[in-house]
């Protein structure tokens, strides 16, 4: 947790409530502020309203999936500079590289596998925020 600045705001986007709850709790414990959205549409809304420092977004969601949301975010000058990291659960398990490619195509800065343990997650988030 940094002392001289306000804690970074992280937007978590995932349709799995339980998973989101785990990440949210961990991130808040280490001092981040966390807001959440269950789908792409609400994610865009929140991103536009609150300008998070980092978005951790799931790829496969109802209503609007992660890649579409990200594309939309990029279109909007207000949101296009927000760093987006995709959480991939390998939407097509038979083609694991698909998600990675898709993520890169739409301008995500990285991807995180969903099975990651929480400490690693924190380490990665910190590294993204530092750049």
């Amino acid at each position: 947790m940094s002392i001289d600045t306000k804690p970074a705001l992280i937007l978590l986007v995932d349709d799995e409530k339980d998973v989101m709850a785990v990440y949210k709790m961990k991130l808040e414990r280490v001092g981040f502020r966390v807001i959440t959205a269950p789908d792409g549409v609400q994610a865009i809304q929140l991103a536009t309203e609150q300008h998070p420092d980092l978005i951790l977004m799931d790829m496969k969601m109802p209503v609007m999936d992660g890649t579409t949301a990200q594309a939309k975010l990029k279109e909007n000058p207000a949101t296009k500079d927000i760093k987006v990291v995709f959480l991939t659960a390998f939407s097509d398990p038979t083609n694991p590289d698909l998600d990675i490619k898709m993520a890169k195509d739409v301008g995500a800065i990285d991807f995180i596998k969903k099975g990651i343990n929480l400490d690693e997650l924190i380490a990665k988030v910190r590294s993204y925020l530092e750049k």
């Binding site: 799995e16 339980d18 998973v19 709850a21 785990v22 990440y23 709790m25 961990k26 414990r29 659960a89 390998f90 398990p93 038979t94 083609n95 694991p96 590289d97 969903k114 099975g115 343990n117 929480l118 400490d119």
Partner: protein, 628 residues
């Protein structure tokens, strides 16, 4: 009897017959002519001229005058010429009724003279083919007649009387020779005779020749041509594939033998053809009944033979065989394939796609050895196994498993995440029992997650969906990192975890997939630690000529020979599975070895002894692996 002999005999017979017939017929004609000359009628003789004088004596004419009974010395009242008989050569005896041995001149009104008829008249008479008498007669020499004759001839005259049965003289006559004329006549006759004989002979001979020709014609036709035609007909039938044809020629000569040979040949041909047909039918039936598609190709890739399945495999709709290039593309092109076959090499495609179907293709060259050919490639055989359904099953199995494994991850992530959070919570940290329980849950979820991940890994590795990210890797660093990660686990079990890196290898770096290499090393180290109860684990680095070896030595429970066999296979964790229920998905070694192979290396068990420990070895090529 031999044919040539038959021919000769026939010709000879016909010639002989014709010759004989011509000769005999001419002889008969000749004789008839001769007889004819003898059977002269009285009238015919009367028409002859009289008084012909010639020298020698083969013929005589005579005049016979009837004597008027009233005037015995008077004039002849009628001249009857008739033939009385032969006269012997010497003229001494004449078969006449009476012969006066003195002569007197005929009563033509000349005394001391003889009226001669001119030769022309006589000749004319002869030329009319009137008379021919045979008599030898010697005339007396009457030189005074010489002036009236054209030649110097000395005619002879014989006077004679004719008496009747009563003994009365009824006539008298004079005989003259007419030798020359006769000779001329005879010559002429014989010339004529000869000519006519010759003519007749020629006619008959010509006729005989014609006959011969005809006979020979018919002979050759029936004895030679007809049987040959039969044989020819037989051959035509054989040509038209009617192999049951047999011919009958009942002669025992060369042609008959030929017919016999023909029949033998035909029956051989028939039986061999039947055998071949049978074998062919068997072969075809076998090929048709193969549960695989079958194609026989020539050396240019043209299709010689195909079975039904091959045809239906290619296209269910219209059952035509598309070209092979459609099958091989894009794996190999036809000319490359043909080259392979020519070099007597086999070719296999695990998966060839045609439209919406997949095939396992196995091609082998076909060689034959025989006269003039020593192991020569004549083409290839291709077997096609339709694996479309298999593939679909596998794909759906794969998809199902991957999805299943994937779906398991989310809840596992939640479990793990929450347990981690709980463990962070101070109230849990302070409650030892609670903490143990949560830690137990965490371990279980980690393990479960590990199993799911392993499972997914296997699916991806086997489905060839694991790309390797090749980069230079410092091996020493990597191993150190792993050891550090696992040091706590070792400490908990009170085991030593030692890393032995020779100084010269501390900077060793080569191309590999860092992430996967780490995975292997982690697996082997974790195994060592987990299967050791006391003592410790030593990891050492060794460099050999072309490889780098990482050895994992433990003082653990060891692996029995039975278990060693199943060691690297899926889902076998050996005895340890029973012992340590908390460890392993059974897939670890399988995955490690698979990954090592992908990198051009291997994972092996160097040695192991139950109760003493084990030594595992990870071997990697120094030159690294080519980027894929």
């Amino acid at each position: 009897m031999r044919l040539s002999l038959k021919v000769i005999l026939v010709i000879a017979a016909v010639l002989l017959v014709s010759f004989a017939s011509s000769v005999s017929s001419s002889l008969i004609a000749l004789k008839e002519n001769q007889d004819k000359s003898i059977n002269l009628s009285k009238q015919e003789f009367l028409n002859l001229s009289q008084g012909l004088f010639h020298n020698s004596s083969n013929l005589f004419f005579y005049t016979l005058n009837t004597i008027d009974a009233e005037a015995p010395t008077g004039t002849a009242s009628e001249t009857i010429l008739s033939y009385i008989g032969d006269i012997d050569p010497n003229g001494d005896n004449i078969n006449v009724i009476n012969l006066s041995d003195h002569t007197f001149l005929p009563n033509y009104g000349h005394a001391g003279g003889v009226t001669l008829l001119d030769p022309t008249t006589v000749n004319n008479a002869f030329s009319q083919n009137k008379v021919n008498l045979t008599a030898d007669f010697e005339f007396n020499n009457f030189s005074q007649f010489a002036s009236d004759t054209t030649e110097n001839i000395t005619p002879t005259i014989i006077h004679f009387h004719v008496y009747n049965n009563a003994g009365l003289a009824v006539g008298y006559g004079d005989a003259f020779t007419a030798e020359k004329v006769r000779v001329e006549y005879l010559q002429e006759q014989s010339n004529n005779l000869f000519s006519s004989f010759l003519l007749l002979f020629l006619v008959i001979f010509a006729g005989a020749l014609v006959l011969t020709t005809v006979v020979i014609f018919f002979f050759t036709r029936y004895v030679i041509i007809k049987p040959l035609n039969k044989i020819n007909f037989g051959l035509e039938q054989i040509k038209a594939n009617k192999l049951a044809t047999r011919i009958t020629v009942d002669k025992k000569d060369e042609i008959g033998e030929m017919a016999d040979s023909f029949n033998t040949m035909a029956s051989h041909l028939e039986s061999y053809t039947n055998k071949i047909e049978e074998a062919r039918a068997r072969l075809f039936a076998s090929i048709s009944n193969l549960p695989l598609g079958f194609l026989l190709l020539d050396t240019t890739g043209g299709i010689l033979l195909s079975n039904k399945i091959a045809q239906t495999l290619f296209s269910e709709k219209d059952q035509t065989l598309p070209s092979l290039s459609a099958l091989f593309t894009p794996n190999i092109d036809i000319s490359a394939f043909n080259s392979l076959i020519r070099e007597k090499k086999s070719y296999e495609l695990q998966e060839a796609t045609m439209g919406d179907r997949s095939f396992h293709v196995m091609a082998t060259p076909v060689t034959i050895s025989g006269p003039g050919k020593n192991d020569e490639v004549i083409g290839s055989v291709i077997l096609l196994e339709d694996i479309t359904e298999e593939k679909r099953l596998e794909q759906s199995k794969d998809a199902f498993l991957a999805i299943a494994a994937h779906e398991m991850r989310t809840p596992l992530t939640v479990i793990r995440g929450n347990t981690e959070l709980l463990l962070d919570d101070p109230s849990v940290k302070n409650d030892a029992e609670f903490k143990d329980q949560i830690e137990s849950v965490l371990r279980a979820s980690v393990r479960l997650l590990g199993i799911v991940n392993d499972f997914l890994d296997v699916q991806n590795l086997e489905g060839n969906r694991v790309p390797l990210k090749i980069e230079p890797v410092n091996i020493a660093t990597l191993v150190t990192g792993v050891v550090n990660d696992l040091s706590e686990l070792a400490k908990e079990k009170q085991l030593t975890l030692v890393l032995d890196i020779p100084p010269d290898l501390s900077t060793l770096s080569f191309n590999a997939d860092k992430f996967r290499l780490q995975q292997i090393i982690t697996n082997l180290t974790a195994n060592a630690v987990n299967y050791t109860e006391k003592g410790g684990v030593t990891i050492s680095l060794k460099k050999e000529e072309k490889t780098v070896k990482i050895l994992f030595e433990d003082t653990g429970i060891g692996i029995s020979p039975d278990e060693q066999v199943r060691l690297f296979k899926k889902f076998e964790t050996g005895r340890a599975f029973m012992r340590s229920k908390e460890y392993g998905s059974g897939l670890g070694l399988y995955i490690s070895r698979f990954l090592a192979h992908l990198m051009g290396g291997d994972v092996t068990l160097e040695k192991s002894e139950v109760g003493k420990g084990s030594v595992f070895c990870l071997t990697l090529p120094l030159e690294g692996i080519a980027k894929q």
